[in-house]
Symmetry: C2
Subunit: 539 residues, 2 copies
């Protein structure tokens, strides 16, 4: 039989010859020899050892060995009578601080059997990860509490997946977990404080294989924890790189995952340079008074044509606020239509959608804003606006992302044009309209076919590893090759970031496609060539 997948869990059907006086090997040795013949070096833990007699005889020496990879060898998790090798599954987890996602993969066919997500049960202890870190500081009880909550979260997901695909969790032979360094510390029950505190040396960067039961996870085998490259460059990124795959090619590529934090890796098979920065909540809609997550009622698409602004909301109903992708499109459209200039300043009094509103933080002052949805008078709603302050905040955030890319390329002595592939990972990268994102300068102005939207690369990488054990070596290679850059320590980082706080960038020549669009939209109006407003112009 062809071996389809060679991953982290495996059921092997064996037909062994019963013992005779001539061949009086022990049951354990007979089992191990049988597995060895099929290419599996295994160990038999005490728990399984105790079941060998009389099981092997009752099964007439025809049974299935259920194997889980434990890092060095296979472990015989249990034995099942007859051939049960059609039923073997694994679970991949993306352990995010907001959302935990799980995919159940059929280890035999490689197909996805179930996919579920829940909010991270730690959220009541703080929306922000920092609150959770503080909660556990010097409090072993609190740490235990969050560890158990996290394990419970995974158990809840196992339950949901069970319900979805009808396969009991006892058949999930292995699990891979990708998460940021803090999430992994909490899952393992390690104090996350040093992740946050200078010099940022966490308790462990590598977790390796840990028995699920030891973590309180109700599955029979081992849990593999993706390693972190640095305190702010976690296993979710390593897993994402695994999915992107450029760590083994020659082509220089960039991998970017922007969320509350932005993580970035550039390189190829020779070297990998990584950095991370707090992108802030701006990109996820978190800054604006009416900003919201990408859920029902959020404005996610915006277009402006001939002075008319049109919106689309998730779910199609009444708008309640705006999410990250909506903001990016709003900004891009406003910029292309001349509603804001390249510094992000509103062109007041030119368009009826641009109004004055009290400054959110200093209500006695007024500031310009765009109203992307008028109040529905029937239910005493409010106008949904995106203010001058919001625009500037968002531009600062996109400048950070832009600058990280620029900075890493400079470290290599390269320019954006030399990038072979530009991988976009994470929810933000997935739902964003690429044209709009380039228009406002989040990403460099590359030929569009070079962009590669990965989606949840972290979860996908974790799922791939379930099916391909060789990738453990790839992870080792990534860990060896990767160099982490502390952007905070880079002298000219802030200066570069200032330069990037324009739409799309100080020098429009670096964004030829945007220049062309501007020309097209403004019908003959010249593009703002070299239009670098003085810093004094900015609020």
């Amino acid at each position: 039989m062809e071996k389809k997948h060679d991953g982290l869990g495996r059921k092997i059907y064996l037909e062994l010859s019963p013992p005779t006086e001539e061949d009086a090997r022990g049951d354990r040795e007979r089992l191990l020899d049988g597995l060895r013949e099929q290419g599996y070096e295994a160990v038999v833990p005490l728990k399984t050892l105790r079941t060998l007699y009389p099981f092997c005889r009752e099964a007439e020496w025809k049974f299935t060995a259920v194997l889980g990879w434990q890092g060095e060898k296979w472990e015989v998790l249990r034995l099942e009578k007859g051939d049960t090798s059609q039923c073997q599954y694994g679970a991949a987890v993306d352990l995010g601080s907001t959302t935990i996602m799980m995919k159940v993969i059929d280890l035999d066919t490689g197909k996805e059997a179930a996919s579920q997500s829940i909010f991270n049960p730690q959220i009541p202890y703080g929306e922000e990860i920092l609150s959770r870190i503080f909660y556990t500081k010097d409090q072993p009880e609190h740490l235990r509490e969050l560890q158990e909550l996290t394990a419970d979260g995974l158990n809840r997901l196992l339950e949901l997946c069970e319900e979805e695909c009808g396969v009991p969790r006892d058949e999930y032979l292995c699990m891979t977990v990708a998460g940021n360094t803090t999430m992994i510390h909490l899952l393992l029950g390690l104090f996350p404080w040093p992740v946050f505190e200078t010099p940022f040396a966490p308790a462990a960067k590598e977790g390796g294989f840990i028995r699920g039961k030891e973590l309180g996870i109700e599955m029979p085998g081992y849990v593999y924890i993706f390693p972190s490259a640095a305190n702010y460059l976690g296993g979710d990124i390593i897993s994402g790189l695994l999915e992107a795959g450029f760590y083994k090619g020659e082509e220089l590529s960039v991998f970017i995952d922007i969320g509350t934090n932005g993580e970035l890796v550039a390189g190829n098979a020779e070297f990998l340079l990584a950095g991370a920065g707090a992108a802030g909540p701006a990109l996820e809609g978190g800054i604006s008074r009416y900003g919201m997550r990408a859920e029902k009622g959020a404005v996610d698409c915006v277009s402006i044509s001939r002075g008319t602004l049109k919106i689309h909301t998730i779910g199609g109903g009444k708008p309640r606020g705006i999410c990250g992708s909506g903001i990016v499109e709003l900004l891009a459209e406003m910029f292309l239509e001349g509603w804001v200039d390249s510094a992000g300043n509103f062109n007041i009094d030119k368009f009826d959608r641009i109004i004055k509103v009290p400054n959110h933080l200093a209500p006695e002052k007024e500031e310009p804003a765009v109203c992307y949805a008028w109040a529905d008078e029937s239910d005493q709603g409010e106008d949904l606006v995106f203010t001058q302050t919001d625009v500037q905040e968002f531009i600062r955030t996109k400048a950070a992302a832009h600058t990280m890319v620029e900075y890493l390329l400079e470290e290599f002595g390269l320019e954006a044009g030399q990038i072979g592939r530009f991988y976009l990972a994470g929810g933000f990268g997935t739902h964003l309209e690429l044209e709009a994102a380039v228009t406002i300068g989040i990403y460099p102005d590359l030929p569009r076919e070079k962009f590669c939207v990965l989606g949840n690369a972290s979860l996908k990488g974790a799922a791939e590893l379930l099916l391909n054990r060789e990738m453990l070596k790839d992870i080792e290679k990534i860990m060896e090759n990767i160099t982490y850059l502390q952007f905070g320590n880079a002298g000219d980082f802030l200066e570069k970031m200032h330069k990037a706080q324009f739409l799309p960038y100080t020098d429009l020549n670096q964004y030829p496609s945007v220049k062309e669009k501007l020309n097209g939209r403004r019908r003959g109006k010249p593009a703002e060539e070299g239009a670098v407003p003085k810093l004094a112009n900015r609020p």
Copy 2:
């Protein structure tokens, strides 16, 4: 610092550099790198991982890593502040069905720190091992009961050793256990039934390294279980071979351990041929009505000179019975003095110590016997006698031992004269007067310097392994080289055994030293040359 011993447990003092922003390795990675620099590839289990923060900082990065070998790598069992590497111990165990012995070894100096023994707590479930096997048959509760009793026995020994040397068991980083296949099954909680039942394929021949706690043994590290070569050739023999050492030399040697069972291994670095047989209780004094273990009141030495029989008792007091070594000397002296002939028949009416007593099994019949201690009339005691039936029974047993040696040598195409060394292991081999044992033909008539009394080779081998991890490879080599012979299957085994049921042997020419002694003792009386009595003469 010179590495004195490289065994199964180790404390390594580390002085690590604290983390900096330039070197922000995780605590775990810092610890592992520090150990790697000293040549120790280790893993950090979750339990230890959870103690790293804030321990490392509190200890100012100067601490001792407590390591236990787990089969593939070292495991960091725990960390201790400062340098505690002077205090590191291991425990070696000879798990006998009657007696369990433990030695505690200082892993730093290699010296013995304590040595204790207890009766096996399984004994109330049957003096004979078979009763215990039956007790557990199809009874998981009973199996659990005996498993726990066995672990409790080891815990009791740990306690006694603690008391003896003052070192708490938490400092015993490793344990090695040598025992016969059944004892190991009971320690591991495996049904021992298949050890006893044809085709004699036990649940496991190898145990490997098992966490002590998993077995209920109260020590921090791993327990190594010596493998069995066959159902009746257990880990105690493998451990004994380790001690004898001829498995790595050129010289053909024989290793024999006679007790209730007799185990025998012959060979050298090229091959090892092994066999085992039920020697029966005869050699341990268990047959005679007045037979007893070698304890206070047992006759252990006998001499006959000019018709006068003299005895010595253990403890020097009043004799209560006779033990194995006493029987061997009694028989040897009687044979040399002509009280019994080479077939073991008493010369009735010639000596006043030879009397007639009722046959133990058929009291209406009388049989000859030697009275080695007259009744003490003051306390209504009995005459202590060794009867014709006892003699025959003993001769059958010694014939079995003799024949096993002969048989293995024949398999090699060799004769006794070609044996380089003859290793005597076990209590019987240790306490026996060698001359007497050769005289009655238990051992072949080799130059006496070829005999090597090992004592408790099993315990000694187990203790050596604690200090020398390389011996694990030796064990592998032994296991690969060893071939087990089922004597029961050997066609001419019984025929050979018949031939050996004489003192010292059918052909006295094979025992030149005995021939000489007979000549000397009987002053001119010719030795019974070629005196092979007809089988019909025998009872």
